[in-house]
C-alpha cells in the first residue's frame, strides 16, 4: 500500500539518506557526521530528527489538526485560570494593604452604647476592631459657599445621600483608609470624600457641600479624597461634626469595623456577625456589610467569565487528548511497514517512540504558545475593569498560570500520544515489514452483512458499516465529536440564557412606548441619578443630577396619565421614578425605583417570592439581600432627612442595575420619605394590533402641550454580556472546527487505508456521487450518535454553569433563564454532531471521489 499516509513520514528513510532522498548521515553518526553516537541520538537531529520533521512537515492536515486543537484548549484554559487568579488580585492586594474590614457593622444609636460596642472588639474570633464611629446618612447639595464652586457640577444641585462616618484619622487597626488627595478632616466644617464609591460626586478640593435638610443648613468644605477598599463610608468628617449632620428628631448610629480570625467564607462571616449581634442588645445591629460582598461586586464581571470559560477549557483539553490520540494512533497504524523499515535500519524501539511523541509534541507546542498568547490577549479587556477600580495598572495573567497550563496541556498531549507511540515501538520488525499496509482489523463483518440487506443505497450501506471495522477508533472519534456537540449545545443554551438575562435586565423600561415628563434621560452619559426636582424642601426645589432643563416647569403627571388613559390602543401603563435614599445596613445611597399604578405586567423575573402588590412592600436583587444580610420576608428601613419607611422584602428579583442594589417598591414609599412622588416617565403597553407609530404620534401630540413627550421605548445592552457572547461564539467555533478537523483527519486516514477497496468499487461502477455518499455515511452515523449523547450532557453542563455565573456576579438566576432548551432548540442541536461530522468529512469525501481508480488499484 504505497499510498499509506506515511509513516513516520511519507517517505521511508534510506540507509544513509534523508527522507527527501538527498545524501545524509549514516545512522550511528552524530549531527556533524561523527561516529560514536547512537542512531538518531536523543536530540531531534540526524535520522530521528529527519523522521520527525518529515512526519510534521509532510502531513499538514495532521499537523494543523493537532496545533489547532491544542490552541483552542490552551486559550480557553489560560483565560479561565488566569481570570480566576488575576481578577481577585487587585482587590485582595488593596484589601490586605488597608487591613480591610471583614465586616462593617451598623448599629442603632438608640439601642446600644459606645462602651457596649467597644466591648465587642474582645469577642472570640475578632482579631482586630475599629470604632465605634458615629455615622449618619445625609443628603448634600452643591454650593458656591466658600468661594469655590462644585467643580463640574453647577451650584444648587441635589446629590444622593451620603453615609457619613465620624473618624478622627484615617488610620487604625482596621480599614486603614488611603488618602488620595488633600488631607484628613481636622475639625468641623471639613469633609473627606471616598473617591471610589458609586454615587459619590467627584468634587475638587475646596468645593462646598451644603446640607439644606438639616438644622442650620451646615456647609462643609471638601479637604481631601480617600479610598476605603472595604467601602465603609461615602465620606468622613471629624466625630464632632456628626451631631450637626444628624436630622432633628433622630439619633446618629454607630459603625464598628471588625477583622476575624476566619473570614474566608460567607458562613464564617455570618458566624462572626451572629456573635456580634448576640453581644449587643436585640435589634441594635441594623446592618452589616461583608467584605466578600464588596469583593464580589468589584470583581463580578470578570468572575462571571470564569465558569463558562473553564467549561470550554475542560472540553477543549478532553477533545485535544482524544483527537491527538486518534491522530497518532492512526499514524502508527498507517505506517506499520515504514516503522519496520526504520527498525531494520537500526532504529531502537525508544527512538521510534520518541519519533512519534515528537510528531505530536511539536505541533502541540506551537498550539500551546499560540494558546497562551491568545488567552492573555483575551484577558486584557476583561481585567482592565479591575485596574480602573483601584487606580492601578491592568493586572495580567500571572506567568505561573501560563506555565502551569502549558505544562498541563503538553502532559495531556504526551499522555495521549504515548500509548500509540509505545505500540509503534513494540512492533515486530519482521511483521511490520511484511504487513505492507495497515493490518485489517477484521471487525464489523456482521454489521457489513446487515447493512448489505438494509433498504438503503448500497454505497451508503457500505459506508455505514465502516465504523465497525475499527471500533476503538470510531469510539474515540465519536467521543471527540460528542465533545464538540456538548460545546455547541452548551454555547447555544448559554447564548439564549444571556439573551434572556439581558432582556430581563431591561425590565426597568417595559412596554413599547415611554412617555417622559422630564425629557428622555441620557442613558450613556448621565451622572449618578439623584432625586429630581422636589427632592429638597418643597419650597425651594433643586434640580437633580441629569435633569435636562433646570428651569423647565415639570408637567403634571396626573394630566399625562389621563392623556395616556384616553389614548385609543392603550392596554395598560405604569409610572416610574427613582430617588436616592439611605437603607439600614447598606453603605451609601440606595436607589429606589418607585412605581405608580399596576406594574404587575412589567414585573421583573422573580428568583423567589413575589412582585410587590402594595405599599410597604419591596422587591430587591440577590446582591442587595447579601449586602444587607437579609432574606425575603425580612424588613428594611429606608430613611431620608429624618423620615423613615419600613419595607418588607416580598421578593428576590433578577436585577443587575446599579450593581443589583435597587429597591423596587410602590411610589408611596417616596411619599412616606417626604420625597417628590411624581413619576418622571410612564411605560405603556398597547393592545394587540395597535399601530405603534400612529399611537406614538397621536399620544405625543396629546401630551406635548402638557410638557411631556411620547417615544418608542429603547433598551440598552450590556457590554459585558456582549463580550461574553462574542467569547462564547469564538470558543464554540474553535471547538467545532477542531472537532470537524479531527473528523477530517480520521476520514482522510480511513480513506487512505481503504484506497484499494475504493479503487475496486470505482472499477465496479461506483460513481463519484456514490463515493461521496459512502464516505459521508461512514461518519454520519457516528456524528448522529455523538450528537444525541452530547445534547443531554451539554444541557447538564449549561444547567450547572449558568447558576455558577450568576453566583459569581452575586445573583440567583430565575428558572426560566436556565430552562431554555425548548424542543425547537433541542431538535436542531441533536443534529449538531451530525453537522460537525459531515462538515469534517466533506473534503476528504470529495478527495476520495476524485481519486482515480487506476491509482487506487495500484495501492497494494
Amino acid at each position: 500500500m504505497t499510498a499509506s499516509p506515511g509513516a513516520v513520514g511519507t517517505q521511508s528513510v534510506p540507509p544513509g539518506g534523508r527522507p527527501d532522498g538527498t545524501p545524509g548521515r549514516e545512522p550511528g553518526r552524530g549531527p556533524e557526521g561523527r561516529s560514536g553516537g547512537r542512531p538518531g541520538g536523543r536530540r531531534l537531529t540526524g535520522p530521528l530528527g529527519a523522521v520527525v520533521r518529515a512526519g510534521v512537515g509532510r502531513h499538514r492536515v495532521r499537523t494543523v489538526v493537532m496545533t489547532l486543537t491544542v490552541l483552542v484548549a490552551v486559550t480557553a484554559s489560560v483565560l479561565a485560570a488566569g481570570l480566576l487568579v488575576a481578577s481577585d488580585a487587585p482587590f485582595d492586594r488593596a484589601f490586605a494593604g488597608q487591613h480591610g474590614a471583614h465586616l462593617a457593622g451598623q448599629f442603632d444609636g438608640t439601642k446600644v452604647t459606645g462602651a457596649q460596642l467597644a466591648a465587642t472588639a474582645r469577642l472570640t474570633g475578632v482579631t482586630a476592631a475599629a470604632g465605634p464611629f458615629p455615622t449618619v446618612p445625609a443628603r448634600p447639595r452643591t454650593t458656591t459657599d466658600g468661594g469655590t464652586d462644585g467643580g463640574n457640577l453647577p451650584p444648587d444641585i441635589d446629590l444622593p445621600p451620603l453615609t457619613v462616618v465620624g473618624r478622627a484619622d484615617p488610620g487604625g487597626p482596621v480599614d486603614h483608609v488611603t488618602l488620595l488627595t488633600g488631607r484628613w478632616a481636622t475639625g468641623p466644617g471639613q469633609i473627606v470624600l471616598d473617591a471610589g464609591a458609586d454615587g459619590v460626586p467627584s468634587l475638587p478640593l475646596g468645593a462646598g457641600l451644603r446640607f439644606p435638610g438639616l438644622a442650620g443648613s451646615p456647609t462643609l468644605t471638601v479637604v481631601g479624597t480617600a479610598r476605603s477598599v472595604s467601602h465603609t463610608a461615602d465620606a468622613w468628617v471629624v466625630p464632632a461634626q456628626i451631631p450637626a449632620l444628624t436630622a432633628t428628631g433622630t439619633t446618629a448610629g454607630y459603625q464598628m469595623l471588625y477583622r476575624f480570625a476566619a473570614a474566608a467564607t460567607d458562613g464564617q462571616i455570618t458566624a462572626g456577625r451572629a456573635a456580634i449581634a448576640s453581644a449587643v442588645p436585640p435589634g441594635a445591629l441594623t446592618g452589616a456589610q461583608s467584605y466578600l460582598a464588596v469583593r464580589q461586586t468589584a470583581n463580578a464581571n470578570s468572575a462571571a467569565f470564569v465558569p463558562f470559560v473553564a467549561a470550554f477549557g475542560v472540553l477543549g483539553l478532553a477533545m485535544s487528548a482524544l483527537i491527538i490520540g486518534i491522530v497518532v494512533s492512526g499514524a502508527v497504524g498507517a505506517a506499520t511497514r515504514r516503522i519496520g523499515i526504520l527498525k531494520s535500519l537500526g532504529f531502537t524501539p525508544a527512538q521510534v517512540v520518541r519519533a512519534y511523541l515528537g510528531q505530536a509534541l511539536i505541533p502541540a507546542s506551537v498550539g500551546v504558545v499560540l494558546g497562551v498568547l491568545g488567552g492573555n490577549l483575551l484577558a486584557v479587556p476583561v481585567l482592565r475593569e479591575q485596574a480602573d477600580a483601584y487606580g492601578s495598572t491592568a493586572p495580567s495573567i500571572p506567568v505561573w498560570v501560563d506555565i502551569a497550563v502549558a505544562a498541563a496541556a503538553l502532559a495531556v498531549v504526551a499522555g495521549a500520544a504515548l500509548a500509540p507511540a509505545l505500540r509503534a515501538g513494540r512492533l515486530s520488525t519482521v511483521e511490520a515489514i511484511s504487513a505492507g499496509r495497515a493490518p485489517r482489523a477484521g471487525h464489523g463483518r456482521p454489521v457489513a452483512r446487515l447493512t448489505g440487506r438494509m433498504p438503503v443505497p448500497r454505497a451508503l450501506g457500505i459506508g455505514l458499516a465502516h465504523p465497525f471495522a475499527r471500533p476503538a477508533r470510531s469510539a474515540v472519534l465519536a467521543a471527540a465529536v460528542g465533545f464538540g456537540a456538548i460545546g455547541v449545545t452548551f454555547a447555544v443554551g448559554l447564548g439564549i440564557s444571556l439573551g434572556d438575562i439581558q432582556a430581563a435586565g431591561n425590565r426597568d423600561a417595559v412596554g413599547p412606548v415611554t412617555v417622559f415628563t422630564m425629557g428622555p434621560p441620557d442613558r450613556e452619559n448621565a451622572g449618578p441619578p439623584g432625586p429630581r426636582a422636589g427632592g429638597g424642601p418643597p419650597a425651594a426645589p433643586a434640580p437633580a443630577l441629569g435633569a435636562p432643563d433646570p428651569t423647565a416647569t415639570a408637567p403634571d403627571p396626573t394630566a399625562v396619565a389621563a392623556a395616556i388613559t384616553a389614548q385609543p390602543g392603550t392596554r395598560h401603563f405604569y409610572g416610574r421614578t427613582e430617588a436616592q435614599v439611605s437603607v439600614t445596613g447598606i453603605t451609601g445611597a440606595t436607589t429606589v425605583a418607585a412605581y405608580q399604578g399596576d406594574s404587575s405586567w412589567a414585573a421583573y423575573q422573580m428568583i423567589s417570592g413575589t412582585w410587590f402588590s402594595g405599599p410597604g412592600q419591596a422587591v430587591v436583587g440577590t446582591r442587595f439581600l447579601h449586602a444587607a444580610g437579609i432574606r425575603v420576608g425580612d424588613t428594611v428601613t429606608a430613611t431620608d432627612q429624618g423620615h423613615s419607611v419600613r419595607l418588607r422584602i416580598v421578593g428576590e428579583a433578577l436585577d443587575l442595575h446599579n450593581d443589583g442594589m435597587t429597591l423596587l417598591t410602590d411610589i408611596s414609599t417616596l411619599t412616606g420619605l417626604g420625597l417628590d412622588a411624581r413619576p418622571d416617565e410612564f411605560h405603556v403597553d398597547l393592545k394587540p394590533g395597535t399601530d405603534l407609530a400612529g399611537y406614538i404620534r397621536t399620544l405625543d401630540t396629546a401630551v406635548a402641550p402638557i410638557g411631556a413627550s411620547a417615544q418608542a421605548t429603547t433598551t440598552g445592552s450590556s457590554d459585558v454580556i456582549a463580550t461574553m457572547e462574542a467569547l462564547i461564539a469564538m470558543l464554540t467555533l474553535g471547538l467545532s472546527v477542531v472537532a470537524a478537523l479531527g473528523v477530517l483527519n480520521t476520514v482522510v486516514l480511513d480513506t487512505r487505508e481503504r484506497a484499494h477497496d475504493l479503487g475496486v468499487l470505482k472499477a465496479l461502477g461506483m460513481t463519484p456521487r456514490q463515493t461521496v455518499g459512502m464516505v459521508i455515511a461512514s461518519i454520519a452515523g457516528l456524528g448522529a450518535v455523538a450528537g444525541l449523547v452530547g445534547v443531554p450532557v451539554g444541557i447538564a453542563l449549561h444547567h450547572a454553569v449558568v447558576p455558577m455565573m450568576g453566583h459569581a456576579v452575586g445573583t440567583g438566576i430565575p428558572h426560566a433563564d436556565i430552562a431554555v432548551y425548548h424542543p425547537g432548540v433541542v431538535v436542531p442541536l441533536a443534529l449538531g454532531g451530525l453537522v460537525i461530522a459531515v462538515a469534517g468529512a466533506l473534503l476528504p469525501a470529495s478527495w476520495a471521489a476524485r481519486t482515480r481508480a487506476t491509482v487506487a488499484l495500484r495501492t497494494e
Partner: protein, 225 residues
C-alpha cells in the same frame, strides 16, 4: 463492438505507453493481448474500462465513446457494459462471497430480488454455492477468482475485461479459470484478456495481438494459428 482509433497515451515525462494504436473487436470475439511488462497492456485495458483516458484518439465500446465520458458517466458505463476480472481478485474482504457478487448490481440499482436471483444463479453456475456466506479470505485463489468472475458477470456486461486472471494462481487453479473463460467465450461473451501467458491466450482466445512499446506488432486469429 469495440473500436479503438489512433490512440496514444503519454504520461508525464513524455513516455508513450500506447503509440497511435488502432484496434477493432467484434461482438463475441475473445481477444488476448500479449506483451512483455511495460508494453502498454494494462494501460489499454484501463482505457477501455474508462479508468484512464487516452492522450489522443478515440475509444468506442458498444456504441459508447468511452474517452469522452465524465467520471460519473464512466462509472455508469462500467456498471452497464463492462465486467472486470483482476490478477489479484480485488474482492472486498469485509463482504461475503454473495455480497461481493451482488455489489455491482446494487450499485447499478438492480431490483433486489432480481439481483439476488442473478447472484445465486452465477454462484451455482460457477460451483460456488457452498461458499455463498463465506468471506473471501477463507477461499482458495481459484475460488476467489471465480467469485471475481461471477461479480464481473452479474450485470450481464457486453465486454468482459480480464487482467492477468491466472497470474496469481497455482497451476490447477489457473487451468480452472482458463476453462471458465473458454466456456464463457463459447457462450458468446465478448472478452478482452490481458496476459503474458501464451498458453492461456491460445486456450481461450479467438484472436491474439501482441503489444511492444505501445504498438501492435502481431495480430493473429485462432484459425491462423
Amino acid at each position: 463492438m469495440m473500436e479503438i482509433r489512433d490512440v496514444t497515451k503519454k504520461y508525464a515525462g513524455g513516455t508513450a505507453a500506447l503509440a497511435d494504436l488502432s484496434l477493432t473487436v467484434r461482438a463475441g470475439e475473445a481477444l488476448a493481448v500479449l506483451g512483455p511488462s511495460g508494453s502498454g497492456k494494462s494501460t489499454l485495458l484501463n482505457m477501455i474500462a474508462g479508468l484512464d483516458r487516452p492522450s489522443t484518439g478515440s475509444i468506442t465500446v458498444d456504441g459508447v465513446r468511452v474517452d469522452a465520458l465524465s467520471e460519473a458517466a464512466s462509472a455508469k458505463y462500467r456498471r452497464a457494459r463492462i465486467g472486470m476480472v483482476f490478477q489479484f481478485f480485488n474482492l472486498l474482504d469485509d463482504l461475503t462471497v454473495f455480497d461481493n457478487v451482488l455489489l455491482p448490481a446494487q450499485l447499478a440499482g438492480m431490483p433486489r430480488a432480481k439481483a439476488r436471483a442473478r447472484a445465486a444463479e452465477l454462484l451455482d453456475y460457477l460451483g460456488l454455492r457452498r461458499h455463498t456466506h463465506a468471506y473471501p479470505g477463507r477461499l482458495s485463489g481459484g475460488e476467489r477468482q471465480r467469485v471475481a468472475v461471477a461479480r464481473a458477470l452479474i450485470n450481464r456486461p457486453a465486454l468482459l475485461l480480464a487482467d492477468e486472471p491466472t497470474g496469481a494462481l497455482d497451476r490447477a487453479s489457473g487451468v480452472e479459470v482458463t476453462r471458465l473463460l473458454t466456456e464463457l467465450h463459447e457462450d458468446g461473451q465478448t472478452i478482452l484478456l490481458v496476459t503474458h501467458d501464451v498458453a492461456l491466450a491460445e486456450s481461450c482466445a479467438s484472436r491474439t495481438i501482441e503489444l511492444v512499446d505501445g504498438a501492435i506488432t502481431r495480430d493473429v486469429t485462432a484459425a491462423a494459428r
